[in-house]
């Protein structure tokens, strides 16, 4: 099974930092700030006459965009050659981060594989389904990933080999709605680093 990250790496161009695309949208380039000296506004002079008005000073131009394509790919890299081992994901109940018996069995198998591939380093991603808010799901996703990590550590895997990241609901595995989709997305996903 190709991990999601592999697929997305293959489809994403790395951005060179040398090629800058200016995002500025040119706004008023000329100054609008000159006031007509010595001419007073007389509001009571009424409508449409030729009384001169001082020219308005407009606020400073806009918020420019970020110009540099500052490097691109995220989610860790693909270095390391322990590609033989394939780690299984663990899945969670709605709004929960608890490991059930099946999850512990999966993690036990994963820890066995990690013991035999001694130099392998892994990233555990925590994910949620779409039915929560952005921030709480990011926190819950991290809790899920940390639960999986902590159990692996309790089985003897060195904590230094494991990194954790949460994607909340931002990178679902399956798109759409309904429990068959949601249950796929509530997971801790293992990536070889």
């Amino acid at each position: 099974m190709i991990s999601r990250d592999t697929r997305s790496y293959l489809s994403r161009r790395a951005l060179s930092s040398l090629w800058v695309i200016p995002l500025l949208i040119a706004l008023f380039t000329a100054g609008c700030s000159k006031k007509d000296e010595g001419v007073e506004t007389d509001p009571s002079a009424g409508d449409g006459s030729t009384i001169d008005l001082p020219t308005e000073t407009l606020p400073d131009p806009d918020f420019p965009g970020e110009g540099t394509g500052q490097g691109g790919v995220d989610s860790g890299d693909l270095s390391g050659d322990d590609t033989a081992i394939e780690l299984e994901d663990v899945f969670f109940d709605f709004d929960k981060a608890d490991l059930d018996a099946e999850d512990r069995a999966v993690l036990s198998r994963n820890s066995g594989l990690l013991r035999s591939a001694e130099t392998a380093r892994i990233l555990i991603e925590g994910h949620c389904d779409e039915r929560g808010t952005v921030q709480y799901n990011l926190a819950l996703g991290e809790k899920r990933a940390k639960q999986a990590r902590d159990y692996l550590v309790s089985l003897g895997v060195s904590a230094g080999r494991i990194e954790v990241v949460s994607y909340g609901k931002e990178r679902p595995f399956a798109n759409g709605s309904g429990e068959s989709v949601w249950s796929q997305n509530r997971r801790a996903h293992f990536v070889l680093k």
Partner: protein
Amino acid sequence: MLKNRDLSSAALCVVAILSAAGSTPAQGEHPVRLRISRQSVDRVLLHMEPIELTSSLPDAAVGAQRVAQQLVTNLIYSDWIALQEPLPAGLRFPPHTPETARGRTQDIARFILRLQIEGEQSGRMALVARLVEPESRTALLAKRYVVDFSQPERAVHHLADAIVRQLSGEVGLSQTRVVFSRGSGDNREIWLVDFDGEGLRRITRNGSLNLLPRWSPDGSKLCYTSYWQGRQRLLVLDGSTGKSQKIAEYDGLNLGAHWSPDGQELVLTLSHEGDAEIYRIRPDGKIVQRVSFSSAIEASPAYDPTGRQIVYTSDRTGVPQIYVMDKDGTNRRRLTYEGKYNDSAVWSPRGDRIAYVSRRGGLFQIFTVEPDGSNLQEMTLPEDGNNEDPAWAPDGRHLVVSSDRGGRPQLWILDLDSGVARPLTDGDGDDTTPHWSQPAATDENSPDR
């Protein structure tokens, strides 16, 4: 000048009236819904005269039309102004104009709006606008702008705000912008859009997941949560250079920072000491104070407008609920007792209420509540789909939310007084986590004191 609308709580009377939007319904366009929640908000009726155009330039008429149309749109969207029908030739009410914004021909306009445009040979234009009281023929307001014919937006926005300020005493929103996260595929970038929906532009381009952008109080910087280079960090984008810097990169979460109102610190969620907790940090990322300590998830912090309190989410009872505390972590009190999933609380700039999302019947709805927990009000309905990530406008009356009522997450602006809603973004991306800028520091937005 109008009385300011009465903000004290009246008996909630919810009347839902469906009416057709004024323009051709686009795919997924939602009918305008009027919900009278406190009392009717009276719009000031203006009569707009045909534009006086003086120019020999070939495109002058088109340019003048554009200026006038954008002004019409901004005046209607302010929710303070109605325009008498018929509008001058070639001008249209914008999409989602509520019926209360269309003045009937037989009604009596309070003021006359007069525009004079002079095209100059250099491609610039002088725009003069007057608001005239019909009986006495005195000009309540007179403004002159000199702008580029092809880019009149700033002048139009400034003028619209001046008119709103003059007629309502309230801050105008036309010069404000909304920053947000737009997703496509696995990634999200930070984008910006003007109050009237124009000027949509991308402002990050780092090819990763970027979300939860928040303006600094002076509008010069944005902080945002970014996965650039593979880890979740807090970045700050400097508006004058366009460059971003890493501010916080603690282990784990560096999530959802808000600037304090005085700009001296930020509050955010970190988890490097175990689980998700709330911390105050300096703008250089150094921790000022950790302010939550339970083994539960604490997240989604936001300051009150004085900067003395923090509203946040904790799941210490088993599910996420909203709490308030003093910014040093003392005086904690629970705010929400209804609903089993409450998050994303934000405090109105007026200090009078807190907006948040509550999951009801599987859908997220927007609620407001007073800081003491009283006067709970539901601001969206089940047929509005999911409504998340509320952010207050500086007027404490409008909210921008991410809503999927049109089929996919899009930004919608809600007028909490009248119940009117309009889409702010166009449905071309998955738009979430918006934040509303402060008004420009101009004469038109300084308080009348």
